[in-house]
Amino acid sequence: MTATARMLLAWLLLLPCTAALAATDNLETRVKAAFLFKFCNYIEWPRDTFSSAEAPLVIAVMGADSLAGELQLAVMDRQINGRAVIVRQLRPDDSLEGVHVLFIGGKGAGQRHTAVSTKLPILTVTENEHPAATGMINFVVVNDRVRFDIARDRAEQAGLKLSSLLLSVARRVQTGVPL
């Protein structure tokens, strides 16, 4: 199957989901999806993370189906630094092999994955208030706006480099201590 056909199929499969979204008009989800896509422009992964210069960038989404749908729409036919972008929906037992960005949705779940993924060169993004369950980037809603905090140490310990542009937009950048 060609890449275009695969995209088309994915898009068709997601259509009902996005239609539902349009009805609920969930701007928060869309803004978060857009952020996830854009974050990739401001992250440098360790050199050996990708098998080749053309290897796709994989964004995995766990526990946030509607966000995965939006993200799928966002990345269609898009490239980041010459790489195609693939969105993968993960179940709690799936492997994190080959994942570059992991979004763990919801408030409660995902602590275990956060703990594992933040030790790998996987940009782990959460939307959790619980300090133990936040990733390297954590979305917060402040004043009706989606903002994010960055745990810079965690990202750097995992071998990720965050651009200063990204840091400058963060609501808070913290080291060491949980956000």
């Binding site: 349009a22 008009d25 969930n26 701007l27 928060e28 869309r30 803004v31 999806a33 857009a34 952020f35 896509f37 854009k38 422009n41 401001y42 939006e70 993200l71 729409l73 966002a74 269609m76 898009r78 809603v141 402040v142 004043n143 009706d144 706006r145 989606v146 903002r147 994010f148 810079r152 480099k161 965050l162 651009s163 200063s164 542009l165 990204l166 840091l167 400058s168 937009v169 609501r171 808070r172 950048v173 913290q174 080291t175």
Partner: protein
């Protein structure tokens, strides 16, 4: 003119797209459409939220500023405003390293900013600059800070914790219909952060050969929907020097503390804030000048159905100024304001407001001068309104007006009409005609020299309101995701400007003997050269044609109302040397001032900021690096000169 936003938080719709990564031209169209949709008050409020594809075309900063829940809000997009508006962002202030409000205002290319002496500044827009500049409306979170004593601002009394400023909107040109009588030549609108955006602790300390600063802030939450911050700031500035190197003895210091409390529930927001300050300004005999003041402000906003909403605000402001041997002024001002906006029809966005202001002053006069009567109560009642009419999809007409009643001249009418055409989503062409009025202040009517008869200057019993009719045209464009620019040309006809006339009795009186015009051009832009380097540039040119009216024999020959350069320019560079190191430069040139003559000067300001670790920043600043010292205002040889300065600062947020 864009809408008033008494409901504190603005759109954050940046004129500059600092972090843009999308480059395709189509992306820009998406961006603009999206901003329209995301900021529904621009007329598209019933549209569904934008698709995720177009959201990805926005910069990170713009994404972070999209309101995700509200459908109808009071916020308007500044980049759509048919006026000459420059926005100083929090990031600009931080990277410039300003330690006081007037210094931060140097970032606006459409303002004339000159330091006169320690703590004293002459600031205006579009000319008439002087220590008693009187054609600017200045607001801090909606609180009017110009004094009815002379319709100008005592800049030494206006300060904030600069880290808590969200942005400063600088409108050059008339905006009296929405912002009030004094907004003849411009508005400076300082907006502080919502308390929720200033959480945690901040400690800022620094010192150098010219100034020392110590500031701290603590922010926290109250319950689920409340946030607060409290802050304190100490600022000390060393004395300036004369051309011959003698000290002027104008060193000064001030301390200030304040708070802000915000309470938000869906549809409602409530805000309380206050500040108190005290300062001491050295002067040679008969001793130091003292200032103090305090203010308390509250504001309630509620969103109503179908894009409507209202804001109710009230404040009280107290200030005291003791100039030994000259005068002591105690001033209390209270204001109550109601602002309502509604969308009665899909092509109309209406806004109207009513405000009442009351001031009570008490002046201890001296042998030198007197304000008579020594006690005065003044009040102002205003009704204003605006209708934004979408004539066509890309053509918008804004009609606005204000009627204000004051105790000196009765009722004054200030109408304006603005037309905005958006031929493409990344271009805006606009034109405006406005009438504005500066009503008399105490100094125009009640000012006597010396303090007892016989008077040399015997007030201005007949002084009438000054009027201005302005014609403006502007063009604003976002030619690429990396750049934006703006140009405005203007011409303003003034009538009944202030003069000092010989009276038959041999004394002098204040009158309205001057008329004429100012024309000029204001342009600025910015360009993202590389990912880590952005440059800004601005240029302003001014030409005045003022002349005395027939019958006037102004003792100053019509030259006392302002002392303006024919042009000024600035270029700023914001470079991220490394991920954790900022390097900023600003070169600015201000042309020669004619009378009294002040030579043109070029100043170079520099700042290196190094984030040792997240939350800890060490910075080194240099100001006026090109010369040992230079004058910015005033007459030789008694005037102050502003010397080169070095400042080392440490900022710790935790």
């Amino acid at each position: 003119m864009f809408r008033r936003r008494l409901a504190h938080r603005g759109s954050g719709c940046q004129e500059r797209n600092r972090l843009s990564s999308g480059t395709a031209p189509a992306a820009l169209a998406c961006r603009c459409l999206l901003l329209l949709a995301a900021l529904p008050s621009t007329g598209l409020s019933l549209q569904p939220s934008p698709p995720v594809r177009s959201l990805t075309e926005l910069s990170l900063e713009e994404l972070a500023n999209i309101e995700i829940t509200s459908v109808a809000k009071k916020t308007g997009s500044l980049s759509k405003a048919p006026a000459s508006v420059f926005v100083i962002t929090a990031n600009d202030i931080r990277r410039y390293g300003a330690n006081s409000l007037p210094e931060a205002l140097r970032l606006a290319p459409n303002l004339l900013v000159a330091q006169v002496s320690g703590g004293q500044y002459a600031i205006s827009a579009r000319g008439f600059n002087g220590t008693t500049s009187n054609k600017l409306q200045v607001l801090i979170d909606g609180r009017i800070v110009y004094t009815p004593l002379f319709s100008g601002v005592f800049w030494d009394a206006q300060d904030l914790l600069l880290e808590d400023i969200e942005r400063i909107e600088v409108i050059s040109g008339p905006a009296a219909a929405l912002w009030g009588t004094n907004a003849v030549n411009g508005v400076i609108n300082v907006i502080t952060r919502h308390a929720a955006d200033s959480q945690g602790n901040l400690l800022s300390a620094g010192g150098g050969n010219r100034e020392q600063i110590l500031a701290s802030r603590h922010g926290g939450a109250v319950g689920d929907s409340g946030h607060y911050r409290v802050y304190a700031k100490l600022l000390d500035q060393q004395e300036t020097e004369r051309a011959n190197g003698d000290a002027v003895e104008d060193g000064w210091g001030r301390h200030q503390a304040g708070f802000r409390l915000d309470w938000d529930t869906p549809g409602d927001s409530l805000q309380f804030q206050g500040d108190a300050y005290r300062g001491e300004l050295d002067q040679p005999l008969p001793g130091s000048r003292k200032i103090e003041g305090a203010n308390l402000l509250t504001r309630f906003h509620r969103d109503l159905a179908e894009g409507a909403g209202f804001t109710l605000s009230a404040y009280h402001d107290y200030s005291m100024r003791d100039y030994p041997g000259v005068f002591v002024e105690h001033l209390n001002t209270s204001q109550l304001e109601f602002l309502y906006n509604l969308k009665p029809h899909r092509h109309h966005h209406l806004q109207w407001g009513l405000d009442y202001r009351y001031s009570r002053d008490r002046i201890h006069n001296s042998d030198t001068l007197a304000f008579l009567p020594a006690r005065e109560n003044l009040d102002w009642l205003s009704l204003y309104g605006q209708d934004e009419i979408n004539l066509r999809d890309n053509l918008r007409l804004t009609l606005s007006g204000r009627v204000e009643h004051n105790d000196y001249t009765g009722s004054e009418f200030m109408p304006a009409a603005r037309l905005a055409w958006t031929p493409g989503s990344e271009q805006l062409l606009w034109g405006a005609i406005s009438r504005s009025v500066r009503t008399p202040s105490r100094i125009d009517r009640d000012f006597f020299v010396p303090g007892q008869p016989p008077y040399l200057l015997a007030g201005g019993a007949d002084f009438d309101a000054e009027t201005a009719v302005s014609y403006e045209a502007g063009y604003r464009a976002l030619p690429s995701a990396q750049s934006s620019w703006s140009i405005t040309v203007f011409h303003t006809d003034y009538d009944r400007l202030r003069t000092v006339e010989p009276a038959t009795s041999g004394t002098l009186v204040i009158d309205n003997g001057l008329e004429g015009s100012y024309s000029g051009i204001e342009t600025w832009g910015n360009y993202q050269v590389t990912d880590n380097w952005r440059i800004y540039a601005g240029f302003t040119a001014l030409k005045d044609r003022l002349h005395l009216k027939s019958g006037s024999a102004d003792i100053n020959g019509g030259h006392s109302e302002g002392n303006d350069p024919s042009h000024q320019w600035q270029v700023r560079s914001q470079l991220d040397l490394r991920q954790d190191v900022d390097f900023d430069l600003m070169v600015r040139r201000v042309g020669e001032l004619p009378e009294p003559e002040v030579p043109a000067y070029v100043a170079l300001d520099m700042r290196i900021g190094w984030r040792l670790e997240p939350g800890v920043e060490l910075s080194l600043m240099g100001r006026n690096l090109l010369d040992q010292r230079h004058p910015e205002f005033g007459a030789y040889p008694s005037r102050s000169e502003i010397s080169r300065s070095i400042f080392l600062g440490l900022r710790w947020s935790f």
